[in-house]
């Protein structure tokens, strides 16, 4: 899914929301090479668990930055995107992002040729984002690793929805949704 950067273009800032946003970001990290900067606010009690992260990407690649405030999260994200030292920058944002902030981050990502991923609460993104994804785990009696990825905003393409499965051995995403179950069709999962 991420092989040819078709949906998640590098040099751009993207937004991800939903309960499975972290696994989406980790899968994106696994698809890239190089260091990962993962910025979150210090007061956030949820932290990545390396033993679980290892299924998606090597935890040794991730450098965590625990910022004091939400402003510092955005500041560090801009700095990291602009420097281009890391191949992917993930920031957990907890407050609504303004258009100015989103645009600045977009420009920083372009300048540093870095992929920026912003994990936002539902409905709190900025209009400057290249794409916005909503990711949620999905229950299936047969398969226990299904995820539903919905592309809900796309500046340069169409929207869509995919039911995907993470193949741990092959380390790649396998799209399992059938034609009739595409987003927008009558039987699409909600």
């Amino acid at each position: 899914m991420f092989e040819n950067n078709q949906h998640l273009r590098i040099k751009r800032a993207h937004e991800v929301c939903g309960p499975a946003a972290r696994s989406f970001a980790l899968i994106a990290c696994g698809a890239q090479k190089g260091a990962v900067i993962w910025i979150s606010e210090r007061k956030n009690p949820e932290q990545l668990f390396p033993a679980g992260v290892a299924r998606f990407c090597d935890p040794a690649r991730i450098i965590f930055a625990n910022a004091k405030s939400s402003i510092d999260v955005l500041w560090s994200a801009e700095e990291a995107l602009r420097s281009g030292a890391a191949s992917i920058v993930v920031a957990e944002v907890e407050k609504p992002m303004s258009l100015t902030a989103g645009r600045r981050l977009q420009l920083a990502a372009e300048a540093g040729k870095t992929l920026g991923l912003f994990l936002i609460p539902e409905g709190m993104g900025s209009n400057a984002a290249e794409t916005r994804w909503r990711c949620s785990p999905q229950f299936d009696a047969k398969d226990s690793t299904l995820l539903y990825w919905q592309l809900i905003k796309n500046k340069s393409g169409t929207l869509g929805g995919w039911v995907v499965r993470w193949d741990e051995q092959a380390r790649r995403v396998i799209v399992v949704s059938k034609v009739g179950e595409r987003a927008g069709s009558a039987r699409a999962p909600d």
């Binding site: 696994s23 668990f49 935890p59 040794a60 450098i63 965590f64 930055a65 510092d72 420097s83 539903y148």
Partner: protein, 484 residues
Amino acid sequence: MSLWFPRLASERVLRARPIDAPFALTQTQSNTQRIYCLNEQAEQQGLRKGMGFSDARALCPDLQTGLANPREDTRFIQTLARWTGRYCPWVGVDEDGLVLDVTGSTHLWGGEAGMLDDLHARLDRAGLTHKAGMADTRGAAWALARFGGGVAAEGEMLQHLGPLSVAALRISDEVCNALQRLGVRSIQDLVALPRVTVSRRFGPDLLLRLDQALGEHPEPVSPQADPVNFAVRMTLPEPIGLAGDVSAGLERLLERLCLTLTDQQMGARRLEFTARRVDQASSQIEVCLARPMRDPIRIAALFARGIEGLDAGYGIDQIRVEAVEVETLPLRQATHHGAQEGDSLADLITRIGNRIGLESITRCLPADSHIPEKSFTVSLAAYSQPAAQGAWPSTGPRPVYIFPPESIAGYAPEPPRRFHWRRMSFVTARAVGPERIAPEWWLDDPAWRSGLRDYWRIYTREGRRLWLFFTPQNPGWFVQGEFA
């Protein structure tokens, strides 16, 4: 000239806390507390160095004591060595004392006696017991300082040294005892003996010491090297105020500083830039580096943001850069790649770290524990290397993220069929488990007071896949992580 401080350690303590009573410092030597150094009053009570502490207390019940701190003593004698630089530039540290090569500097004090008078007066005022000996050779001065005192004029060495005991020759106790047993008590007795017999009986060391004392064999004083100072400064003829001028000055200073660092094979870890303004106020910029560095161009770039925010006031007339913390950084073969891999990442860590704190930038390293929360350690990214690939132990399926356990309703050992968590209600569709994890009994971890944990992977009909655990010894259900 040789200086001897027989009560250095106790006097160092007494200088800070004067006591007019018997006082001694004790040190634990092979499981006994022994007296390490004592003052004059304690010696008058019959105490001796090396005596057991309990014996000393029995002899002198009002003895006051402290713990010996040899490291501080060494530092104190280094300070004294620096101070004696006022008499001559050539100062070396001896055991319990100093050795000064005063050749050519005595005339500044009106001769040897004048210099000694001044030295005695100043050390007495400082409250330090000391003995000084002055002679043509280092060995003879040592002997005079410890076994007699005074000045041995040129060519009269043997007259002064002759009556002293053979122990004054800096020889080991065994040799000294053996000589005493043979009836060779003073140095003149030893000189009278034929050299061949002496060296056959006692080896060459004894004669070497004798020759060194009498000046037949040279023994130079090796002076203390000046500690390297990683600081440079620049005083400007005209005050400056433009950010560009300050950075230009900083670049020049960093070039000089980095040359010193390269000479010493050191790299700066923390740098402090001080700009003194014409009104005597000064402002500082501190930069903590994510890895030891000595590249002036890269360091200057890291200061750029700080210089922009600098308040120049009426103008800056002195700038100074100091490497406050340095680490060894060996020289490396230059490669045609130029910049090293990871340099840009280290610079990024430095830049972010200087805003949110270098201690807030971390990475996870594997740890040897089966407790989930302890299966990794968080270490500072600036001071650690990433774990090797495959260093992570393989465990059962683990969640992507965890949080402190959050309690949910339910007391039965079977997984709840429906439950509420974070104001959401869930219906359990499938439960996989249990995986029992026992607390580490050798550690008292407050989070694990509730005893064993049975971990379950709960697949809910709503989609969320949660990591729950049940505590059988203290019935209750908790959510600790999520798998997606």
